[in-house]
């Protein structure tokens, strides 16, 4: 009897998990190929929305999908804001010209970012500003319900309409308007309904790159007559016909693979083959679709250990380092608006080569915070002052009724006057405060001056991103070692400059990016780097030298060996 009890207890978890995995509540086509959805739209109570007649029912995504899909499970995952924080990704930006703030933030605990609570952002403002670029989910930053259609509806999703409806506070209706099932007035498009109240939706597990790029697009901000934006190459994988989700895969749990080396997937599944290295340089047998295996002939092998693949195959190139870029989420890409300028805040730069969490050189994107902080007393950390808390003090002290940046721009040509005003404003704050701009925190000093102080909150934030990926012929090193190892090349150290909204005269002349002196870094041996720079242009000579000496000594030693074998000496 006791044996039976132990046996039952041992197998109980297995039996229960088996029941979970064989849950038959959800409909499955059983095929990974497209299943054309003929479905009824349902309101929040699960009532079917009629295609004809008068009704004020508002469709609800969860209720519409739930009869066939485990929406609860699909609304979580990394894409839905759940799961481990992992290495830093692109932050959200709070850009507020009324207070001169451009602060990076995220719900995940990534270095250098403010939290939603620190910025005192309420759900409504998050939904209006971040919502258009948030697919939703149980833990999403905007708090919206999942919009399944934005990722899974192929082709005809109207992103602009969705954004407008979300901004208007109608986020429930937004996906259905974007899909054309409701019109821009929020009324049913009756022609889309059949006589059984069903609509047809061309839904795909992979709706193509366009679906992802609604929110994850990056494009150069600068363009000129000589270098227009349309001449820039896109990602080589997309050009080859692949889709984002070929690498950034996910199961129903929507834990989307990030594609980084050594990634530990929340599901525990091995995702090694879904990184650059895992797909192109697999150990043993080819994986996936047998991606081309690069040979890197002549490249000293330790480069493959010390650098990520994207250090050469993405990010900066010769002459195009530290590009200013626009991203969907930071610059509202995909939403038509006038007056876009290359320097629009928050100011993001790509191609910054930095060491990643695995101590490898990797291309990063970089941006600089700007805004107001409460500098602390002793033993207290500095804190971000939410823009909302600055409205009244700015109005009272500086008479800023609308926009601080406009006010500064309209101040007469003497920049020192604006700085004196800001200093006076800091003096009026209840607790010691400073203005973060130009890579420093500026606090009040005697005579209504501003003096820079160091602050952890004033440094740049950066996140690793290896897109767009370039083919071998366009990568660093395609012209030989001197692409990087030559005195005139800028590698490896490059930083962006803050390009501040509120410039400080004491911060000096601002350029968008600059190469920093390697000797100022402790992560980098500048002497060795300088030596290689000097030596590498003679590498061809070294090849000739070692080939010649190698051939000569081999022939001579072979001759002497054969001669010795003929003799009788041991």
């Amino acid at each position: 009897m006791r044996f039976l009890l132990i046996l039952t207890c041992s197998f109980l978890p297995t039996i229960l998990s088996g029941q979970e995995s064989t849950d038959d509540r959800w409909k499955r086509s059983g095929s990974p190929e497209t299943y054309v959805h003929h479905i009824e739209l349902r309101d929040a109570r699960g009532q079917v929305i009629s295609g004809t007649g008068e009704t004020n029912q508002i469709p609800n995504m969860e209720a519409t999908c739930a009869p066939c899909h485990d929406v609860q499970r699909a609304s979580g995952g990394l894409h839905g804001g759940k799961g481990p924080d992992g290495p830093a990704g692109e932050p959200w930006f709070l850009v507020d010209s009324r207070s001169g703030t451009r602060w990076p933030f995220h719900s995940r605990l990534w270095p250098g970012l403010a939290t939603v609570e620190e910025l005192d952002l309420d759900q409504e403002s998050l939904r209006k500003k971040q919502g258009p670029f948030d697919a939703g989910g149980h833990h999403s930053i905007s708090g919206q319900a999942s919009d399944c259609l934005i990722c899974h509806l192929q082709g005809s999703y109207d992103f602009q309409q969705r954004s407008q409806f979300i901004k208007d506070g109608k986020s429930d209706l937004a996906p259905f308007v974007a899909a054309g099932l409701f019109d821009s007035a929020g009324l049913r498009s009756e022609s889309r309904f059949d006589n059984q109240n069903r609509v047809v939706l061309d839904l795909h597990a992979d709706a193509g790159p366009q679906a992802c790029l609604h929110c994850h697009k990056v494009t150069p901000a600068e363009e000129s007559a000589e270098n227009p934006r349309w001449t820039h190459a896109g990602d080589v994988h997309l050009a080859a016909g692949m889709s984002c989700v070929d690498c950034h895969r996910a199961g129903l749990d929507h834990h989307v693979v990030r594609g980084k080396d050594g990634e530990i997937h929340p599901s525990g599944v091995s995702v090694e083959a879904l990184s650059c290295r895992g797909c192109h340089l697999p150990q043993g047998d080819p994986v996936m679709l047998s991606a081309p295996r690069p040979e890197h002939r002549g490249l000293p092998p330790f480069h493959l250990e010390a650098m990520t693949c994207t250090a050469c195959h993405s990010g900066a190139t010769q002459g195009e380092e530290g590009l200013s870029v626009w991203t969907s989420r930071a610059h509202d890409l995909g939403i038509a608006k006038q007056g876009r300028k290359a320097g629009d805040p928050p100011g993001i730069f790509s191609g910054i080569l930095l060491k990643d969490d695995q101590n490898r050189w990797a291309p990063h994107y970089q941006a600089w915070p700007e805004g107001w902080i409460q500098t602390s007393g002793e033993n207290q950390e500095a804190e971000v002052i939410p823009p909302g808390d600055l409205r009244t003090p700015l109005r009272r002290t500086l008479r800023v009724r609308g926009d601080l940046l406009e006010k500064i721009a309209s101040t007469d040509e003497d920049p020192a006057r604006a700085e004196r005003s800001l200093s006076a404003f800091l003096g009026q704050m209840k607790s010691p405060s400073a203005l973060v701009t130009s890579g420093h925190a500026w606090e009040r000093s005697p005579g209504d001056q501003l003096k820079p102080i160091s602050s952890d909150l004033a440094g740049p934030v950066q996140w690793k991103l290896g897109h767009p990926v370039r083919p071998a012929a366009m990568s660093l090193g395609s012209n030989g070692c001197t692409d990087c190892h030559a005195p005139e090349t800028p590698w490896p150290v490059l930083v962006s400059q803050p390009a501040p909204m509120i410039p400080m005269s004491a911060a000096g002349t601002i350029s968008q990016t600059q190469h920093i002196d390697p000797e100022s870094l402790d992560t980098f041996d500048s002497s060795l780097w300088n030596f290689w720079e000097w030596v590498f242009p003679t590498r061809d000579l070294a090849k000739v030298y070692f080939t010649a000496t190698g051939a000569l000594v081999l022939l001579a030693s072979l001759r002497w060996f054969l001669k010795a074998m003929e003799g009788n000496r041991p």
Binding site: E295, G298, G550
Partner: protein
């Protein structure tokens, strides 16, 4: 003793010593040890050429085999340097360069000790 041999052996030992940081399997020599190894090794390669074109008249089987191994090691280095193999395979060639050179040095030591013993026996 060949006049080049008095430079050759110290240079060979120095070259070997500078390669110690690269001995762990799977780790390529890099950084300052690589710079030193290349500097000393370049000099050693030149002296080796001179030595082998004017070797001592009494070069035994073991010592000639050891110089053959060291010479082969030098050639193994040239293969990845010229880009004849992929970077991953290049790593194996660099290891081969190391093992051949170490093997050659070991045999050279053995041959010297045997020769010393034979000389002592004769005396």
């Amino acid at each position: 003793m060949n006049r080049w041999q008095r430079f050759l052996i110290p240079l060979l030992i120095l070259t070997m010593l500078s390669s110690i940081p690269g001995i762990p399997l799977g780790v390529d020599l890099r950084g300052y040890p690589l710079v030193l190894h290349l500097a000393v090794g370049s000099l050693f390669a030149a002296v080796l050429v001179l030595f082998l074109f004017q070797p001592p008249t009494k070069l035994g089987r073991l010592s000639s085999l050891s110089w053959l191994l060291i010479s082969s090691g030098l050639v193994a280095l040239v293969v990845p340097m010229l880009g004849w193999v992929s970077a991953e395979t290049g790593h194996l060639w660099l290891e081969t360069h190391g093992w051949l050179s170490i093997g050659g040095l070991g045999l050279l030591g053995l041959s010297a000790s045997l020769e010393k013993k034979a000389t002592a026996d004769r005396d």
